[in-house]
């Protein structure tokens, strides 16, 4: 067991003086490999801020975050970009695929950024697309895919560079219940399969059956259910 994501005493405040709002308040979280953690909370509780901080997009006011053992605090912008590329996989709301790339190219693009060889990239993308059941759709543009298929491509893209942690931002928001469940199950399967960690932020309590742990974000801290 090793910690893929570790957040220690993370605090984030917007504004200063009297108008300051503390969104994260000495938050602690550790996610180990093969663990799938869900973070719940109604909108406005700071889920986005939590995910941005954990995903190396936002430097918190104080506290320390480790991704795969590497501390983020002393890294500059370009080092964080590189770290996101190598260590973090993102799934965004409504998939956010690039409209002008075919399904396979969505995956090849991130592999190219990470400087994977073409052969390696092709093999990896074929493996992921087949596992997620969208291999037949590899030469389609996103506009031709259903919402569920798009999210499956997004899962494949997020896992493409073998990241240490996957962050999923409301992955089921634009899907109906059964499609949503399918997508969450697939994330869970990949977590076990790849031996990596995943954190899903959601407001949908019906999507939790495959999660190892479930937290509620309340008053800037995570409360385990």
């Amino acid at each position: 067991m090793s910690a893929k994501l570790m957040m220690k005493q993370v605090t984030h405040t917007y504004g200063d003086g009297d108008g300051a709002r503390t969104i994260l308040n000495h938050l602690d979280l550790t996610v180990n490999d093969s663990e799938f953690v869900a973070v719940l909370g109604p909108s406005g509780t700071g889920k986005s801020t939590f995910l941005s901080a954990a995903g190396a997009l936002l430097t918190p006011t104080s506290g320390e975050i480790y991704i795969d053992g590497e501390p983020l605090g002393n890294k500059d912008k370009s080092a964080l970009t590189e770290l996101r590329l190598q260590k973090i996989g993102f799934m965004f709301q409504s998939a956010q695929l690039l409209p002008y790339l075919k399904v396979e190219e969505q995956l090849l693009y991130v592999a190219k950024l990470a400087k994977l060889s073409t052969k390696e990239a092709k093999e990896r993308s074929a493996y992921l697309l087949k596992r997620l059941g969208i291999w037949e759709r590899r030469n389609h543009y996103p506009e031709k895919l259903s919402g569920g298929e798009k999210q499956r491509v997004a899962i494949a893209r997020a896992w493409m560079n073998k990241p240490a942690v996957l962050f999923a931002d409301e992955p089921t928001a634009s899907l109906d219940f059964s499609r949503g469940k399918e997508v969450v199950q697939m994330i869970a399967d990949e977590v076990k399969n790849e031996g990596k960690a995943a954190v899903m932020v959601t407001h949908d309590e019906r999507m939790l059956e495959w999660c190892d742990r479930v937290y509620h974000l309340q008053d800037g801290v995570l409360v385990e259910q």
């Binding site: 970009t81 709301q93 956010q96 931002d169």
Partner: protein
């Protein structure tokens, strides 16, 4: 380039449209440039093709050849400084000629030159004339279109003298009129015939002295001879009547076209970039470096501008072949090169606004975004 090329492949219509606009603008740039160069050449080719690089003119003549009057005194002074062969007198006279046997009345410019000197016309058809020939001229081949051929007799309206056409030269115009070369002997006769000159042949003045020399010697001559100013060939050309007015208005058009092409491209790409700003946020969140995205934008602009420039160059060449000879159009490699570099430079400059916009997009925007 991975993204740039695939995006263009996906949105063909969008990028084709902007390419058509750029194609038209760059074609217009090249065409107007060619026309400006062609007009300039048609205007002043006689002076442009001279091997002289400096001209001595009277200092109060305002650089204009026909206003200047110089005599043998200045000629010998100049020759003593630059060498016998590198200074030769030139007399310029605008006039109208008629031709026997042809219904022609043409405005021309007489160039009286030393037929042994460096201004000796380069005859391409027929025979040249010597300093001793009387009553013979070499004319610009444009006069052929007026029905003049070798052996034709042309009559100068002002003096009433008649000359026989001995040969033709190419590309010899002065102030949009064809040049008729005569020797000094005929020049003296012409001037005395009009009653303007003095009694003896030596006293008929020249207009200018053509010089082949260096800038330091040219400056020396200016300071040494008190009523003489030495100007460069460029200055001389700019002072030819109508030249500056014509070229400046064309130049203004060209400059505006460059600015317009830069702006059109800048605005187009800026709008596209704004439209895509959420995509850029996603790309940055996924770990795409800013330099990669900047190259992506600049790369697209580069591809579009180079492609449209190439097509418009081909169009320009094609059209040039189809143009009638009377249409003054001239594009040399150097002009094409400069125009192309400027055009691509303007396009790249325009793309920088979009690059700045991409740089401002925050990766943070990717989280919590519901829109597509």
């Amino acid at each position: 380039m991975f993204l740039a090329l695939r995006e263009m492949r996906h949105s063909k219509a969008r990028y084709s449209l902007i390419m058509v606009i750029m194609l038209l603008v760059s074609f217009l740039v090249l065409f107007v440039t060619g026309l400006a160069r062609g007009l300039a050449y048609a205007n002043v080719s006689a002076v442009e093709n001279m091997s002289a690089n400096y001209f001595a003119v009277q200092s109060d003549a305002d650089h204009a050849f026909r206003r200047s009057q110089l005599s043998d005194t200045e000629l010998s002074a100049a020759r003593s400084m630059v060498g016998e062969k590198n200074a030769t007198p030139l007399a310029v006279q605008m006039s109208t000629i008629t031709a026997d046997g042809a219904d022609v009345k043409a405005d021309i410019t007489f160039f009286a030159v030393d037929m042994d000197g460096m201004l000796k016309p380069k005859v391409v058809q027929g025979d040249g004339i010597t300093n001793e020939t009387k009553g013979s001229v070499v004319v610009d081949s444009k006069l052929k279109e007026s029905g003049i051929s070798i052996g034709s007799l042309v009559k100068d309206q002002a003096s009433g003298l008649t000359f026989k056409v001995a040969g033709f030269v190419k590309d010899s115009s002065y102030s949009h009129t064809p040049v008729v070369y005569i020797n000094n002997l005929d020049w003296q006769a012409m001037r005395q015939g009009t009653g303007q000159g003095g009694s003896s042949a030596q006293q008929v003045p020249y207009n200018v002295i053509a010089l082949k020399t260096t800038s330091s010697v040219a400056a020396q001559i200016t300071s040494k001879l008190n009523n003489v100013e030495v100007i460069t060939q460029k200055q001389a050309i700019a002072s030819i009547p109508g030249y500056s007015a014509e070229q400046n208005s064309l130049l203004m058009m060209i400059v505006f076209l460059f600015v317009i092409s830069g702006f059109v491209l800048a605005v187009f790409f800026y709008v596209i970039t704004i439209q895509k700003s959420s995509q850029f946020g996603i790309l940055k969140a996924m770990g795409t470096k800013m330099s990669y995205l900047a190259w992506s934008v600049v790369g697209q602009v580069l591809i579009l501008s180079v492609a449209s420039l190439t097509i418009s160059l081909l169009l320009t060449f094609g059209m040039n072949m189809g143009l009638p000879d009377t249409m003054p159009f001239q594009l040399k490699g150097q002009t094409i090169g400069l125009t192309s570099v400027l055009f691509i430079g303007m396009s790249l400059l325009g793309s920088l606004i979009s690059v700045a916009k991409v740089a401002k997009v925050d990766a943070l925007d990717a989280i919590g975004r519901t829109g597509a």
